[in-house]
C-alpha cells in the first residue's frame, strides 16, 4: 500500500507547517496509527531541515538550561516513567500516609536538581537543599554520616505564625515518613537525630518539610503535603 498523492501532500504541508489547526491535529493523530504516513512526514521534515539548521541564531532572553533540567527531572519522576521505581515507592508510601502525592512528585523532582546544583566545601559530609523550586531554597540540611548528626539552617523559610516546620525522612524501607523533629525557621537546629538510621537509608532518603500545628504533628504523621523537599548530595572535598 502506498500513500495517496493527497496524503503525501498533507505530509509535506505538515512538515512545512501550513496545515490549518484542525488538519494538523487530525494528521498528528493519524500518523500514530499509520506508519507509512509517519514515515512520509519524517522524510519531508528531513528534506526541509537544512533550512532550519541555517536559521540565523537569536540569543534567548534568559538561560533556560536550569529550567529545562528541572523539567527533565520532573518528567523522570512522573508515573509514566519506569526507571524511577524507588521514587514511585516513596510516593506510594506518602499516599499510604494519606498525604497529597501530587505536590510531592513535583517537589521530589526539584530535589534531584538540588542534588546537582549543590557544591559546598565540607569534606565527607552531605547536604540537602530543601526547597520548593530550584531558585528558592528554604533550608539547608547538613548531615555528618559518621556521627549521624544533622543540622538544619534556615535560608529563606517564611515564618509560620502559630505553626511549626517539621522535617521528615522518607525512604522505602522505613515505610511511612519518619519525623526528624521540629526545625526552627530562624535559627540553626542541631541534633544527633539520624543515629537510629542505617547509613544507606540516610544517604538515599528524601528529606521533606511540612507545616504542622505548633509543636509538631500530633499523631506522628505528616498532616499535609511537603512544602520543601531535597535529596542529599555529597559535599565535595
Amino acid at each position: 500500500m502506498t500513500l495517496s498523492p493527497d496524503d503525501d501532500f498533507a505530509a509535506a504541508e505538515f512538515a512545512l507547517g501550513t496545515l490549518e489547526p484542525g488538519e494538523r491535529a487530525a494528521l498528528a493523530a493519524r500518523r500514530r496509527r499509520e506508519p507509512e504516513l509517519d514515515a512520509a512526514i519524517r522524510a519531508w521534515e528531513a528534506r526541509l531541515s537544512p533550512l532550519a539548521e541555517a536559521t540565523p541564531p537569536i540569543p534567548p532572553p534568559a538561560d533556560f538550561l536550569p529550567a529545562i533540567e528541572a523539567r527533565i527531572r520532573a518528567a523522570a519522576a512522573s508515573p509514566a516513567s519506569n526507571d524511577v521505581a524507588a521514587l514511585q515507592k516513596r510516593l506510594s508510601r506518602w499516599r499510604a500516609a494519606a498525604v497529597g502525592a501530587t505536590g510531592l512528585a513535583a517537589a521530589l523532582a526539584i530535589g534531584f536538581v538540588a542534588r546537582e546544583a549543590t557544591r559546598v566545601a565540607q569534606p565527607k559530609e552531605f547536604v540537602a537543599i530543601l526547597q520548593k523550586s530550584a531558585d528558592s531554597p528554604a533550608f539547608v540540611a547538613s548531615i555528618n554520616l559518621a556521627k549521624g548528626e544533622l543540622s538544619v539552617r534556615p535560608v529563606a523559610a517564611p515564618p509560620q505564625a502559630g505553626r511549626s516546620y517539621e522535617l521528615w525522612i522518607i525512604e522505602p524501607t522505613l515505610g511511612a515518613p519518619r519525623s526528624l523533629g521540629i526545625i526552627d525557621a530562624a535559627a540553626v537546629t542541631r541534633g544527633p537525630r539520624l543515629a537510629a538510621f542505617d547509613r544507606a537509608v540516610v544517604e538515599d532518603a528524601t528529606y521533606a518539610v511540612t507545616v504542622e500545628p505548633e509543636g509538631g504533628s500530633p499523631d506522628g504523621k505528616p498532616s499535609g503535603p511537603p512544602v520543601f523537599v531535597g535529596k542529599l548530595v555529597p559535599v565535595e572535598p
Partner: protein
C-alpha cells in the same frame, strides 16, 4: 571551532556536525554534562527557529524549553543517515513552535511586533556561517522555483505563515496558495531526488 579562517566551509560544517552527533550520542546515554554542552552549542539557533515563528518572547521561551526536553527524551532516535544533528534538533524545535502557533491562532502579518521583522526575505540561508551539503542542494532546488513561490515556502518555513497568512501577503485566494505549495513541494522533491 577556533579557525582563524573566516570563510565557512563545508568541512567545517561537517566537523561541527560530528561534534554535535557525539554529544547527542552521550545525551542518549543520559549524560547530563553532554546535554548542557549541547544546549550551549545550539540554543541560539533553536531560539532563532522558534522566535521567528512565535514572535512572543514568553511563548518562544516555553517552546524552546519543551524542545530541549524532547531532545533529551528522543536523543536515541537521532539517525545520522537521515540528516544533520542540528537539522534534527531544529526540526523538533520548529514542530513545538508550530504546534503552539496552530493551536492558538494563525500568525497574521498584523500581529508582527514593531521592530521585529526578520522576514523570510531577510532570513538569508545563503549567509549561513557554514553550509552543509544538504543545504547547498536544497538551496539550489529552491532556486528553481519562481520568486513568489520560493518566498511563500520560506515564509511558511521560517515564519510559520499559514495558507491564510500567505494568501493575505500575496493577495491571492487560499486555494491558489495551496496549489502553489503543492507544486513547489513536489518540484522540490523531484529536484532533490534527481
Amino acid at each position: 571551532m577556533s579557525s582563524a579562517d573566516e570563510t565557512p566551509k563545508a568541512s567545517e560544517a561537517a566537523a561541527a556536525s560530528d561534534d554535535l552527533a557525539l554529544l547527542l550520542g552521550r545525551v542518549a546515554a543520559r549524560d547530563a554534562a553532554a546535554f548542557a554542552a549541547l544546549y550551549r552549542a545550539t540554543h541560539a539557533v533553536l531560539y532563532g527557529v522558534v522566535a521567528r515563528i512565535l514572535t512572543r518572547g514568553d511563548a518562544s521561551g516555553e517552546a524552546l524549553q519543551e524542545a530541549y526536553v524532547r531532545i533529551w527524551e528522543k536523543a536515541g532516535e537521532f539517525d545520522p543517515a537521515k540528516g544533520s544533528p542540528l537539522g534534527w534538533m531544529a526540526t523538533i524545535a520548529r514542530n513545538r513552535a508550530l504546534d503552539e502557533v496552530r493551536r492558538v491562532r494563525p500568525t497574521s502579518l498584523e500581529e508582527m511586533p514593531e521592530g521585529f521583522e526578520p522576514a523570510a526575505e531577510t532570513v538569508d540561508p545563503l549567509a549561513a556561517r557554514a553550509r552543509s551539503e544538504r543545504l547547498v542542494a536544497l538551496l539550489a532546488c529552491l532556486g528553481h522555483l519562481d520568486a513568489d513561490k520560493r518566498e511563500a515556502v520560506l515564509l511558511a518555513y521560517y515564519r510559520g505563515f499559514s495558507r491564510e497568512a500567505l494568501a493575505r501577503k500575496f493577495g491571492a485566494p487560499t486555494a491558489t496558495i495551496k496549489t502553489w505549495l503543492r507544486r513547489s513541494l513536489m518540484q522540490l522533491r523531484e529536484c532533490l531526488e534527481s
